[in-house]
Amino acid sequence: MAQEVAVPLEATEVRTPRKPFWKKLLLTARHHPLGAIGVSIVILLLACTLFAELIAPYDPQAIDAHALRNAPSFSHPFGTDRLGRDVMSRTIYGARISMFIGLVSVIIGTLLGAFFGLISGYFGKWIDSLIQRVIDMLLAFPALVLLLAIIAVLGNDESRFRQFLSDYTPLPEGEFLGIPVFIQIFVMAVGIGVAIAVGTARVVRGAVLSLKENVYIDAARAMGASDGRIVFKHILPNVMALVVVLATIFLPIAILAEAAISFLGLGVPNPTPSWGSDMTGPNQSDAVNGNIWWVVFFPGAALSLTVLAFNMIGDSLRDISDPRLRGGRGQGGGPGTGTGF
């Protein structure tokens, strides 16, 4: 295109050959080994999510009366729980629930948040005041308390939202996408998504406020572009990068939130494998009273490792964007802490 027209007089131009993509990637990885480790862990996690059936040695829900509470061994590397279920298989399948809830809630949250942030920032006036005052109030709740309140209201069998989902959407009552009790899990993801949307909307609004002062917005308006066109063609593409960054920050937080809620017994119900719910109830008392440590140790380790991986990636990204502060500045709490799980 334009560059080709401007190429100077034939071929004398000395250009260092462009490094192939993978070489650049390798170089970045060498400079940021922790980030590289983080990325590998996340890839492993994704593999567990997608191919749990192939990786897991046993059915995660299969009860084996001959192997109750077995300590880790060759046949059961992570041991078995009180019903003889293989802890390793449950941990692998747990990744699926975690990633599913994490992704769905982050998608819902950032979409909702970006939408309200955009209209609040762009239209200003009373729309802005209204949306911002509601956000002020939602931010007055401690995150987990807000989340528990949402779950308490939405999650109930008789809640209007639940009824609406099963009556008017094609979501099935039972298993879906290999996830049992799909609706209940989906409702939870919506709850986490709402909590994420609050933070996203605030940040996106701030960005929109400064973006709309740009000259090109005036130019577009002078050319007769409608509000809708300006928002979607000129402002939205500019906040997309920000939204993606927010999504990566919120993903581990959403995963932790799911685990915390399930841990409190308000999330993913038994016997569906989930890291949070496998650490609570009978497993917890087995561990605390009977020293059956492996039933809680491994799901928790998987959860910690996941959060650790995302934190290491986040640190490396911060290093790359601001080399002055190698090691990260933990601003805004850093992933996974603003919520205090």
Binding site: L34, R133, D136, M137, A140, F141, P142, A143, L144, V145, L148, A149, I150, I151, A152, V153, N156, E158, S159, R160, F161, Q163, L256, A259, A260, F263, L264, G265, L266, M279, A287, V288, N291, W293, V296, F297, G300, L303, S304, V307, L308, N311, M312, D315, L325, G327, G328, R329, G330, Q331, G332, G333, G334, P335, G336, T337, G338, T339, G340, F341
Partner: protein
Amino acid sequence: MREYILRRLLLIPLIIIGVSFLTFMTFRVIPGDTTIFICGFSCTPEVIHDLQQDLGLDHPVMQQYWDWLKGVPQGDLGRSFQTKLPVTTELQRRFPVTLELLVLAVLFSLVLGIPPGILSAVRPGTPVDFIVRLVSVFWLSIPSFYLAILIITFGAAWFSWSPPNFATGQVAGLFDDPIKNLATLIPPAIVLSVGIAAVIMRLTRSSMLEVMRNDYIRTAYSKGLKERAVVWRHALKNAMIPVATIIGLQIGGLIGGSVLVESVFGLNGMGRYLVESIVTRDLQVVQALVLIFASAFVLINLIVDLAYAWLDPRIHYA
């Protein structure tokens, strides 16, 4: 400054009224038929009738809200459906536990976070720095409830230690039996503080690094001051300003964390009460607790803002 404080104080009732409205609407309007929501499968026409009488559900929504709100300043937060007792009776027992847990957790997070942060900023690039950064990433990543279970499980297995309240089921009062009380509350407080200590550690480090680059620090060094004096007298106070803010921001997280840690350690605090009430569908209690948590959070944020101005005289609130 005085004007600013006054304005903020006047705004607080407004925010709390907004919060209470939101809470009320969430628990009364969204769920659908409140009575069925409350009594679930055990609903009989008589139960529903009694509940409607009790809650004043036959009145218009705004009047219901007003009736509920009127009671709040008088300490009437409604009654539990499970125990039939006023929520405040239960709170008198539970509030001190949560308050003490939170205060201890903030103290521990400062003790665990600030010194390593300073150390790592004064010696950047050394093994000490590396270890501090590594520890902080690990602390940041371990969920509090997981850490709590690990401590109780392996504490029992290796040191035959278990939290003192596991045997009695009660937390001794701070003034009745201080030693037993602290022995009960210090382990959960440390568990709760670890995540925030990591944040404080990282922020102290980066904020110190930034301050240490200033000209006045170089001047202090070049006039022959000892490093100890430069770090403690010149750098630290300025570096602590962002740390004060982050502590304020983390309080909300601490409150959430206390819900989880209280549940694992079996402490009869407010967080555990919240979870129990959600499980038993005691929405009156949930409503009251959510209101209290949110109001406390708003007040704490105000205090932090004011502390911020006190730490940094350059900040003027107009």
